[in-house]
Structure formats: C-alpha cells, structure tokens
C-alpha cells in the first residue's frame, strides 16, 4: 500500500465579500497517494483552483484538515511545486537562470547536487542546447517544459498543475501534454491536475475527482485504468476512453 502524500478531510471554505459570505467548498475529502496522478474536474466556477490554493497554503480552510505528508498545511511550503496556465518564464533571464530560480531563492544556486540534477533534466528533455537562450527564442511547448523543470528543480513532493495547457493551441497541447506526463512519470512525481477538459483529465490521470457546482462537494471519484496504453495521446484511442468520457461528462453536465 502506497502512503498518502496529500489528504483532504472534510474541508470546507467560505470567503467574505462586501455583499455576502460565499461558501466555495462545502465538504471535500480525497487523498492522493505517492506517485499518483490525480485530476480534478467540475463545472466552471466550482472552486477547482481554490483547492490548489489551499494545498499551496495560500488560503486557509474554514474547517476540516489538509495533510501534506502527514502534516497539516499552515503556510506556503517548499514541498509544493506550482505550475500555471502560462509558463511565466522571466524574459530577462536565460533558460538556465529561469530553471534555477527556486534554488537561487533558497540560496542553493551553487549546490553541485542541484546543478547536476537540473543539468540532467535539461539534457534529458532536449533543452541542453538552449541553456543560454532567452525564453522568447523557444517554442510554446519547449517553454512549458522549461517551466516544469523549474518546478522540479526544488524537488517538491507534489506538483500542482493549474490548467497548464489551456493557453496552448490544440496541436501543441496534445504534444506538451505527452511531454509533461512523461517527465512527471519518469521522475516519479505525484501530481494534482485541475482542468476543465475532461478528455485531458482521463488521458493523464490515474484517478479523476468530480466536483459538484458551488458550494462544491466531491460528487464522484473515478479510477481510470488505461495503463495498457502508455501515453496520454494513445489513451485517447483506448476502447474504454469514450465510455469513461461519457460517464464523467454526464456527471459534470448534469450540474449545469
């Protein structure tokens, strides 16, 4: 039995506005095991990103508990790697300076161990020749890979992916999706993906969590077992893909 990396126990969250109090999350419970790829889907505005903010320690739950490796999350932590919709590479820095941002902030820019690991990652994922380039010289897919390596440089226990492909066009998106998935899997990372794209969720995740509309609760958790097809792109061709898609689609759709 693999251990839990992340555990949500009856988490609720409400926030205040000038007009009223809004309950974003009513009752959220789920867990993410080591090495697992979990996707969260749900109708728009259901608080998917709120869940990531909670894990990242940027928001505090009103009630319930969130445990990261057995410890309650109280503030931002270096165990978390956050990946955004846009790559957010700093244009004035070279690729190397971009991926080393995390270690640099920790004062470990010169750690031989980190330098070796980051160099290996860049080499492995075809970015070695671009170390001295500026981000604008790279394609959208390459930029997203750099962003992922920047996240991996600090060696986080869990990766939070907030719609990381939605800013890309469809062709690039499928390609980058494969790339990111392969990197995460081969580096043996645990990941929590938030997306509005059901097929993306099915093609990447081991487990899909379906949220209800606001105030949201966990409506269903679907185990995705398409492991006989190795990559997200191939999984879209899996005989069971359509069926899973329809099931999840109905559950999300029924809400709206």
């Amino acid at each position: 039995m693999k251990k839990d990396i992340l555990k949500f126990q009856n988490v609720a969250l409400s926030y205040q506005t000038n007009d009223s109090e809004i309950t974003a999350l009513k009752d959220i419970s789920f867990d993410v095991k080591a090495g697992e790829f979990v996707a969260i889907v749900g109708p728009s505005g259901c608080g998917k990103t709120t869940i990531l903010s909670l894990v990242a320690g940027l928001l505090k739950a009103s009630s319930g508990k969130i445990l990261l490796e057995g410890e309650e999350i109280l503030a931002t932590s270096k165990k978390i790697g956050y990946m955004f919709q846009h790559d957010h590479l700093f244009e004035w820095r070279t690729i190397w300076q971009n991926v080393m941002l995390g270690p640099e902030l920790e004062g470990k820019k010169k750690s031989p161990e980190i330098i070796a690991r980051v160099t290996e990652l860049l080499e492995k994922y075809g970015l070695k020749d671009f170390i001295k380039s500026k981000p604008r010289e790279l394609s959208g897919g390459m930029r997203q890979r750099v962003a992922l390596i920047r996240t991996l440089a600090t060696n986080p226990s869990i990766l939070l992916l907030d719609e990381p492909f939605s800013a890309l066009d469809f062709q690039t998106r499928l390609k980058v999706c494969d790339d990111v998935y392969n990197i995460i899997k081969s580096e043996n990372k645990t990941a929590l993906l938030v997306t509005h794209d059901i097929s993306e969720a099915i093609s990447m995740a081991d487990k899909v969590i379906i949220l209800s509309k606001r105030p949201s609760y966990v409506k269903d958790i679907k185990i995705i077992d398409l492991k006989d097809y190795p990559t997200p792109l191939e999984r879209r061709e899996h005989p069971k893909f359509r069926e899973l898609f329809d099931e999840i689609w109905k559950e999300v759709q029924f809400e709206e």
Binding site: I80, G81, F90, W92, L101, G102, L105, T154
Partner: protein, 267 residues
C-alpha cells in the same frame, strides 16, 4: 551567420527596394520642410514682410550664436543649464523610483498617502516657485528643486504603476518557490518594470528641461532660460531665438542618448 551570400527572390528584392524608397522620401520631405521654412523665414525678413526686430531671422541667429560662442559666454550658459538639468533629472528619477518602491512595499502607506499624491500631482508645480525661492534661496539650488518637483511625481506614479502591474500568477510563483518580499521585488517586480523605467527616463528628459527652464525664469543669473528671459526683456529676439535653438539641440541630444540606452538594453 557566416558570410553567406543570400540570394533573394525578385519579389523580395522589390519589397526591400520599396522600403528603402519609402525611407528616402520621408527623409527628403523632412529636409525640404526644414530648409523651406528657414528659407522662407530668411526671405520674408529680408524683403521686409516680417520685421526682424520682432521675428529675428536665421542669419541674425547664426551671427548671434557665432558671437556668443567665440566670446565663450555661451559655453558658460550651456554649462549652467546642463548641470541643473542633469542633476535634477538624476535626483528626480532616483528619488521618484525610491518612493515608488516604498509605496509598493506597503499597501497601507499607499492607501493612506493616495489623496495627497493625487493633489500633489494635480497641483501646477510652478505655483510653488516663490516658496522654493524663499526656502532654498535664489540660485542654482532653487532651480534644481523646481526641476525635481516637476519630474518626481510623474516618475513615482509611473514606476508605482509598473510595479503594481506585475502579473499575479508570477507573484504567486515566487511565493510558491518560497521567495520573501525582498527577493520578489529584486528578482521579479523590478526587472519586470525595466521597460517602464526606460520610458520614464524618456519622459523625464523632457520634463527636466521644462523644470530647469521654469526655474531659471523664476530666478537665475546664468543659463539658457536666463538668456531667453533677459533677451525678452530687452527685446533682443535674436538672443531669444538663438538660445531656443541651443535648447532644442541639447534636449534632442539627451533624448537620443536615452533612446540609444534603451536599444542597448533591449537587444
């Protein structure tokens, strides 16, 4: 790229030719306007349609300039004005950016000071002239203070705006990587606002000349602003025009330097 001879298609050659032609015609038009206006001015004053006593004339401006330069007097005036402008420009840019950093740092302070900044921004700074002269004495210091006052508010506001317009997700990224506020500022917010800093410099080039000349109008014993006011008072329009020409050249030159600086950093 090595010395490879690139062979363009006919279409491309035509395209390049058109661009070149366009550039040449624009430059030509600019020269014609310049020469034409100067020529017309000279002609109208020569035939007596315009009275050179009120309108001066290009040839009189040239001879005034020659006289002032050969006596070395013009260099003193240029030196004084250039010194005041540069000092004012540098101090205003530095202080304005510093104040913007402080206001970025503390949201509370920003909120508290907001109405004051709005009022100071709206106030015509020239109104403070008499006060400045009384506090700093009639002279160079007062002129530099005037220059700083004119530039500093716009610098502060533009820089603050640039700092605050930093992408929220980028800030979140820094936070998730464990950056403190100091690191967030110097590794993200400031370099991110660098483009804005350059355009503030460009604006300040113009503003600092306005400030200095205004200051010299109020109180001065030397400088281009002094020459203009003096020339106006004694009805020596040749001197007024000659000083204005020198001002144009200096301000243009300073702007050009900043533009070059920008090109170098953008590369």
């Amino acid at each position: 790229m090595k010395n490879k001879k690139i062979i363009y298609s006919k279409e491309h050659e035509k395209y390049l030719k058109n661009i070149k032609k366009d550039k040449i015609t624009t430059l030509l038009a600019q020269i014609i306007i310049f020469v034409g206006l100067i020529g017309l001015w000279e002609l109208l004053t020569a035939v007596g349609a315009l009275d050179p006593f009120f309108f001066s004339s290009p040839s009189r401006i040239v001879s005034t300039l020659a006289e002032f330069f050969s006596s070395g007097e013009m260099f003193t005036h240029i030196g004084v004005t250039l010194y005041e402008t540069l000092i004012g420009f540098l101090i205003a840019t530095f202080l304005g950016t510093l104040i913007a950093i402080i206001l970025w740092w503390s949201e509370k302070l920003r909120k508290i000071l907001d109405p004051y900044i709005v009022v100071i921004n709206a106030l015509p700074k020239i109104a403070l002239g008499p006060m400045i002269i009384i506090w700093f004495g009639a002279g160079t210091t007062a002129i530099i203070v005037m220059c700083i006052l004119i530039c500093i508010v716009i610098t502060t506001l533009s820089m603050l705006n640039a700092f605050l317009s930093c992408d929220k997700d980028k800030l979140l990224l820094m936070k998730s990587l464990g950056a403190n506020k100091f690191q967030t500022f110097f590794k993200l917010v400031f370099p991110n606002a660098f483009g804005e800093l350059i355009s503030v410099l460009k604006i300040n080039v113009g503003m600092s000349w306005v400030g200095t000349i205004m200051g010299e109008y109020l109180t001065s014993k030397a400088g281009l602003g002094y020459l203009i006011v003096y020339g106006g008072q004694v009805f020596n329009l040749d001197l007024v025009m000659a000083s204005t020409v020198i001002l144009c050249i200096l301000a243009g030159g300073m702007y050009f330097i900043v533009a070059r600086l920008e090109a170098r950093f953008k590369k």
